[in-house]
């Protein structure tokens, strides 16, 4: 009978070797995880890569996927170019073009076809490009051309533009609303034409606020009013409340708009009566700005409200036998991380689930965050933290799965069927490529740079495909959920 004493084990070569390997892993394992390399496979769980397009090496922001006739077209907004490549080459024209909007046919998601690039504003990084996209069919808009398909996009920070993309390979500019600053992620109701445009109007004391427009006839925009938090309006004094990031409207049927203020600081969720906002007194006085507000929730000042996604009424599994309030009105808030490698100046940014059943008094009831230690993400390079969620209200994922981008931790699939207890059920971290741009921090005043994926925005389509785009120029990854995540969505097994 072979007996291993503790002493024998301690002295054995196998044990010494194992300890050595363990120490080496402890010392170098994280270091290996720190630096993704070209050729490394993607990291994934219950999500699978279906197709890819490099988006001409442009830093990507908001994708909108539109069912256009019998085709599926992705409209992808871009940040400006980089210091190294301010105007990437467009192989379709042979011209160097400032980053703008990529138009990609994703009808066959395994073989996306790049159709057109609409150049954007001159400038690099956040200073240029055309970050935002929304798309409405002319036949859906009350006064639209029924043969047209309209793309609403920003033009850098200076303007909003509307293009006719009925032929997505040959977009035509219809109108530009300019003279603005810091335009950003707007919302456009396709059934009414009412648009809530994130703009910067010079007289306001804030970079971003809301301009409400009637774009039911996109060729003839009609401004309805300006809106923001009291203290941001012209003529006010003292402390300036947190600036707007964006909003989502539930349209006339829901009659609510969920505004998110702040990106990574001082977040505010504001629930607004849509009808009162559109029809109420327009002068931006403090009283008039308060009049349509139903409820507000100040988040911890350490977090912002980048995306405020209304989940609507949900029966909470644990409350299903309750005779009162078993159904709750839920909102998902996603913060945006701005700082590279968990450096000073920012707390961890994540996802918050808000019970807004009593609209005047919303309250956070749960949160979700990626486990940093699961991937050593603070050392991988670039940002680590949440950024944005899918905004599609298509039934395939609504109130079942939410997808949230997490920069160097890729995109995360969250089971939200019980929003009081959200659970991660999948993730996909794309591989870096030669196009992936570096991200730097300062150490003793000098740049220390790493290359890592920076999954920036995500959107889904009615078919159940997931579109993830990269801020560090890697491109568009089209994904599908697999295994348990796919079962949650009710999609047929693949």
């Amino acid at each position: 009978m072979l007996v291993f004493t503790r002493e024998a084990i301690r002295n054995s070569r196998l044990f010494q070797c194992s300890v050595g390997v363990s120490i080496a892993l402890l010392m170098f394992g994280p270091a290996a995880a720190q630096s993704p390399k070209i050729g490394d496979p993607p990291e994934s769980s219950n999500m699978r890569l279906v197709g890819f397009n490099d988006l001409q090496g442009r830093s990507a922001y908001q994708p909108t996927v539109h069912h256009q006739g019998n085709r599926w077209i992705a409209y992808i907004g871009h940040h400006g170019g980089t210091d190294a490549i301010a105007k990437p080459n467009n192989p379709l024209t042979g011209q160097a073009e400032f980053n703008g909007t990529s138009i990609v046919d994703v009808t066959d998601p395994a073989h996306p076809v790049y159709l057109n690039h609409i150049p954007g504003q001159e400038g690099t990084y956040e200073a240029g490009g055309a970050q935002m996209t929304r798309v409405c069919d002319g036949k859906a808009l009350p006064k639209g051309d029924p043969d047209a398909v309209y793309l609403l996009r920003t033009f850098g920070g200076a303007a909003h533009e509307i293009w006719n993309v009925a032929d997505p390979a040959k977009p035509k500019l219809i109108i530009r609303l300019d003279g603005l600053k810091d335009t950003h992620k707007s919302w456009w109701e396709c059934d009414t034409g009412i648009a809530f445009l994130v703009s910067g109007v010079a007289s306001w004391r804030i970079r971003r606020m809301t301009e409400v427009y009637d774009l039911s006839d996109p060729a003839k925009p009609v401004k309805i009013r300006e809106f923001g938090l009291p203290g941001q309006e012209p003529g006010s004094a003292g402390r300036v409340p947190t600036e707007l990031h964006g909003m989502i409207s539930t349209g006339p049927s829901g009659n609510r708009i969920y505004f998110g203020y702040g990106t990574n600081k001082g977040g505010v969720l504001q629930i607004v009566d849509r009808d009162k906002l559109i029809k109420g007194p327009k002068e931006p006085t403090p009283d008039n700005l308060r009049a349509p507000v139903i409820g507000e929730m100040e988040m911890s000042p350490l977090n912002g409200a980048h995306t405020t996604y209304p989940l609507g009424k949900m029966t909470i599994p644990g409350f299903s036998k309750d005779k009162f309030a078993s159904q709750r009105d839920m909102v998902m808030i996603v913060d945006e991380s701005l700082v590279n490698e968990c450096q000073p100046g920012e707390a961890r940014q994540m996802v918050w689930f808000v019970d807004a059943t009593v609209e005047a008094k919303p309250m956070v009831v749960a949160s979700y965050s990626v486990d940093e230690a699961s991937g050593n993400f603070c050392q991988r390079g670039g940002r680590f933290g949440s950024h944005s969620s899918n905004e599609s209200m298509a039934p395939v994922f609504l109130r079942k799965l939410a997808f949230v981008t997490w920069f160097n931790a890729g995109v995360r699939a969250i089971d939200i069927r019980d929003p009081y207890h959200p659970k991660e059920v999948g993730y996909f971290i794309p591989s870096i490529t030669t196009a992936t741009d570096k991200r730097c921090i300062k150490i003793d005043g000098k740049d220390a740079c790493k290359v890592a994926i920076q999954s920036n925005n995500v959107e889904t389509d009615d078919r159940g495909y997931v579109y993830v785009v990269d801020r560090a120029n890697t491109g568009l990854h089209i994904l599908e959920v697999t295994g348990p995540a796919r079962a949650i969505a009710g999609l047929p097994a693949n």
Binding site: G123, E126, A127, A237, G238, R239, P301, V339, P344, D444
Partner: protein, 189 residues
């Protein structure tokens, strides 16, 4: 007549002597220019404010004996909250970034802001009337400058409105090597 002239002369001489004594011998707590120019001594103090979204910065005090009027200076960063292209372009941007909470919130601008420079960074300075904790006449100076998209905010609090000479002394301190090293080594600019 002679007596009257003598009295007048005595008063006059006394006045001159008194004036000379006043200007040469009495410490000038209300005239910051002389004191500040000679002895600006800044001592780091404990950060006095509660935690908020921007975290703690650095706090300094220059006593009245050194600066003519007691100056309390609070400096901290707001990472990623400035436009790297336009910087602190106007007073709206200055106010958006200012630490009004350090001024107890209530403020009224005392005139327009103006441009300043700290090392390689440009920014703006604006002065405000602020309500002090004891409802004294407190003045606040907000200095906001930027390094790309990162904003630096210096807030000076003092009692009264004796502002002559304060700005150059504060700007000189913000330009000191130790302050710039703090920005690069600790703040991460």
């Amino acid at each position: 007549m002679i007596r009257s002239a003598t009295i007048a002369a005595a008063f006059g001489l006394g006045g001159i002597v008194a004036s000379l004594f006043y200007f040469l011998a009495v410490p000038h707590g209300t005239d910051p220019v002389a004191g500040i120019a000679a002895h600006p001594v800044w001592v780091e103090t404990k950060w006095p404010f509660l935690m908020d979204e921007w975290g703690e910065g650095k706090a300094f005090q220059c006593k009245a004996a050194d600066c003519g009027v007691e100056l309390n200076l609070y400096v901290r960063s707001k990472i990623g909250f400035c436009s790297s292209t336009t910087g602190v372009a106007d007073d709206n941007e200055l106010e958006r970034l200012s630490d009004f909470d350090f001024m107890n919130g209530a403020t009224a601008a005392l005139g327009e802001g103006h441009e300043i420079t700290v090392a390689w960074m440009k920014g703006r300075l604006r002065t405000y009337a602020a309500a002090g904790p004891a409802r004294t006449r407190t003045t606040a100076i907000s200095i906001v400058y930027n390094n790309n998209s990162d904003a630096l905010i210096a807030t000076v609090i003092l009692n009264g409105r004796q502002l002559d000479g304060v700005e150059p002394v504060v700007i000189a301190f913000l330009n000191e090597k130790s302050m710039l090293l703090w920005l690069t080594n600790k703040v991460g600019l």
